[in-house]
Amino acid sequence: METALIALAAALAIGLPALATGWAQSKIGAAGAGALAEKPELSGLIIILVAIPETMVILGFVVAIIILLGGQG
């Protein structure tokens, strides 16, 4: 039971931020595509802006790892 709860916790820790990241990046990507249509020279900056929300899923990944490793211990 405990193992299942730990696995569920780890899954939620990465799953929910991943959804949030996807939602945020979809908005930024759409806006970026519109900006690029008028100013193609912004391509590099827009790639960086799209990458910014990935912090959420990366930190969620880290928390998931900590939960799993802590659960093993």
Partner: protein, 639 residues
């Protein structure tokens, strides 16, 4: 590095202005400031005013701009050819060129009009030929008799056939024959045979159902089919010959007149640059005044050039740069050869302000380091190195690809270094086949160690940024800001030490003093940085935590490499296993390169540069000649 600039003023008599601007353009390193704010005192502004062009200059500007536009129109009508450099100087013969360009423009337009007509004819002829080739096969099944009419059709698709057949059935009582086929281009065409007496009625039905009857031009409508084809083929060949003649004439014209128009284009661009620069100059009753900024190392050469040309008649002096000038000083970046390619990455950001830091050297040092930390596989690095070398050797003269290759080369080297430190060559293939042991630790088995390592790197990187910000604040004598940054640094270090003690790395002897220090310094932080200062501290802690992505993305790269090796082993077949392994490793390299690059850049732009780089610099745009190599190479049309 941000090039050190000097504030200069050039004064001379009015009649020498053109010559002085020509010398400045030749030197190419003076950015003329269109505003005299900061260059002269308020009481002098009544005496020194913006130079207004006289009628002669205005007329010359309009004349040259009109000629420039016409030459560009001419270039747009001519094919691109390599031309020799013209030995003639266009300046003395510009009036002649002006008279000639209208005639040449009219001729080129006529040739283009002729060419368009020929192309239009050719397209129509080829369409007719395609139709005839398609229907000729249908005609073999039909007998041509005097009382029968053959009608060609173009059909949208097979869906129109049932309705058409029904209507023809009703109209001709079944006395018709319709055959369809497709042309080489995929169009559906048909051949309808009906009695001559019913031709008109059938034609009306075809019009009602919007099926165009294929009609041939009058000139060969009554020819038999085989002679129609030959006629069309001969006519199309003749059109192609005419087209080739027009192209040859245009190319001959471009080779003959291209050099002089190319030279005229360059001369006009330089002359117009001088005239437009005159709009940024100031004048008093007798003298002109040019205010601007230039690299400090260029001041003496320009002074020498003006002295040599005008022997004391034109005076250049350096003025004192005041604090309020800092926002207006234009920014030029110059970096050593290793860092220069990284300016491509710096260009994604706004220019730094003069007096701030050029981010290029920092990206040059830390970007490949972080790239290597994240990708960290010696095998991948060894694969990326030849790719980088190929980019540099093949595209070295193209800025984006050549510099991209150089950056990739540096990143590949660090990837190899960290691959050896982690003991990774194509995942665990190095340890399994070559017995490679990590010099640091294995990433997949020491996740917490890697996380601590990544956060430590983040701590060092962010505190370096804060330290640079502190130095900048002290340099600009911003005491409160300097104090706030210093307090942030001390509090971050104290919190870091407390965390280390919490995890039992150090004994907790200093825990109480550190807590007292934090509680004492926090009100000071509020005083120096305002109410939001504690939030800024929390944000900085968040910035450090963001470096955990070095562990996270690196771990995914390692695990994917392990999956590649595991899957290739599971296939049981050496060839299939190699294919599977290579494919997955290739995908991992592509994802790894992009992810490592983007996240390394993001760490720099968001977490690091925000601590010390002030953006908002003006670009340095000196008055200069166009690229002389372009004239020497004789590229044409202008590019």
């Amino acid at each position: 590095m941000i090039v050190r600039m000097s504030k200069v003023e050039i004064i001379g008599s009015r009649d020498r202005l053109d010559a002085v601007l020509t010398v400045i353009e030749e030197k190419g390193d003076l950015h003329i400031d269109p505003s005299n704010i900061g260059f002269i005192d308020l009481e002098d502004t009544a005496e020194i005013r913006t130079l207004l062009p006289d009628d002669r200059t205005l007329f010359e500007k309009m004349f040259l701009e009109e000629l420039n536009d016409k030459i560009h129109l001419l270039f747009a009508l001519l094919p691109e050819v390599e031309v020799r450099q013209s030995p003639l100087s266009p300046g003395p013969i510009i009036d002649t060129i002006r008279r000639t360009v209208d005639r040449h423009l009219a001729w080129c337009r006529e040739q283009h009009h002729k060419k368009e007509g020929l192309l239009h004819d050719l397209v129509a002829l080829e369409g007719q030929l395609a139709f005839l080739r398609a229907v000729s096969s249908l005609m073999e099944g039909m007998t041509e008799t005097p009382d029968l009419d053959l009608i060609g059709l173009t059909l949208e698709g097979p869906e129109v056939l049932p309705e058409l057949r029904q209507q023809l059935e009703n109209l001709t009582n079944g006395l018709y024959e319709l055959a369809t086929t497709r042309t080489e281009e995929g169009r559906m065409v048909g051949l309808l045979a009906v009695e001559k007496s019913r031709t008109a009625a059938v034609g009306a039905v075809l019009r009602d159902t919007r099926l165009p009857e294929y009609t041939f031009p009058e000139s060969f409508r009554n020819l038999p089919l085989d002679r129609k084809q030959a006629y069309l083929a001969d006519t199309a060949a003749e059109r192609r010959r005419d087209l080739a003649t027009v192209d040859r004439d245009l190319e001959r014209f471009a080779r003959r007149w291209g050099p002089i128009y190319n030279a005229a284009d360059h001369w006009l661009a330089e002359r117009l640059t001088i005239i437009r620069a005159e709009g940024q100059v100031f004048e008093s009753r007798m003298c002109f005044f040019i205010y601007g900024w230039m690299p400090t190392r260029g001041v003496e050469p320009l002074r020498g050039a003006l002295e040599g040309r005008f022997t004391g008649g034109v005076h250049l002096q350096e003025l004192e740069i005041r604090r309020e000038d800092l926002e207006r000083i234009p920014v030029a970046l110059r970096n050593p050869a290793y860092f220069k390619p990284f300016e491509q990455l710096t260009r994604l950001l706004p220019l730094p302000r003069y007096g701030s830091y050029d981010p290029t050297p920092f990206i040059g040092i830390f970007f490949p380091l972080f790239f290597g930390l994240i990708l960290g596989d010696a095998g991948y690095g060894l694969l990326l190195l030849p790719l980088a070398a190929w980019l540099v050797f093949k595209y070295g003269d193209r800025p984006l690809l050549g510099d991209g290759g150089r950056i990739l080369g540096a990143c590949a080297l660090y990837t190899i270094i960290f691959g050896l430190l982690y003991g990774e060559i194509l995942g665990d293939l190095g340890s399994r086949l070559l017995g490679l042991h990590p010099l640091l630790f294995e990433r997949q088995d020491n996740i917490m160690a890697m996380l601590v390592f990544a956060l430590s790197i983040g701590f060092v990187h962010v505190t370096l940024g804060l330290t640079l910000g502190l130095i900048a604040a002290i340099r600009h004598r911003l005491k409160k800001e300097a104090l706030a940054i210093f307090l942030n640094l001390v509090l971050l270090t104290a919190i870091g030490l407390l965390l280390i003690m919490f995890f039992g790395v150090f004994p907790d002897l200093l825990a109480r003093p550190l807590i007292i220090l934090i509680l004492t310094l926090t009100p000071l932080l509020l005083f120096s940085g305002g109410l939001l200062a504690p939030l800024e501290l929390l944000k900085t802690i968040g910035n450090i935590v963001s470096y955990a992505r070095i562990m996270a993305i690196g771990l995914t790269s390692v695990l994917l490499a392990l999956v590649a090796n595991m899957l290739s082993g599971l296939t049981g077949d050496i060839v299939l296993g190699a294919v599977v392994g290579i494919l997955i490793h290739l995908i991992n390299i592509v994802i790894g390169v992009f992810a490592s690059a983007i996240h390394s850049l993001r760490l720099h732009y968001v977490e690091f540069f925000s601590k010390f780089v002030e953006t908002g610099g003006r670009p340095f745009q000196p008055l200069h000649r166009r690229d002389p190599d372009r004239l020497a190479k004789g590229r044409h049309p202008i590019g």
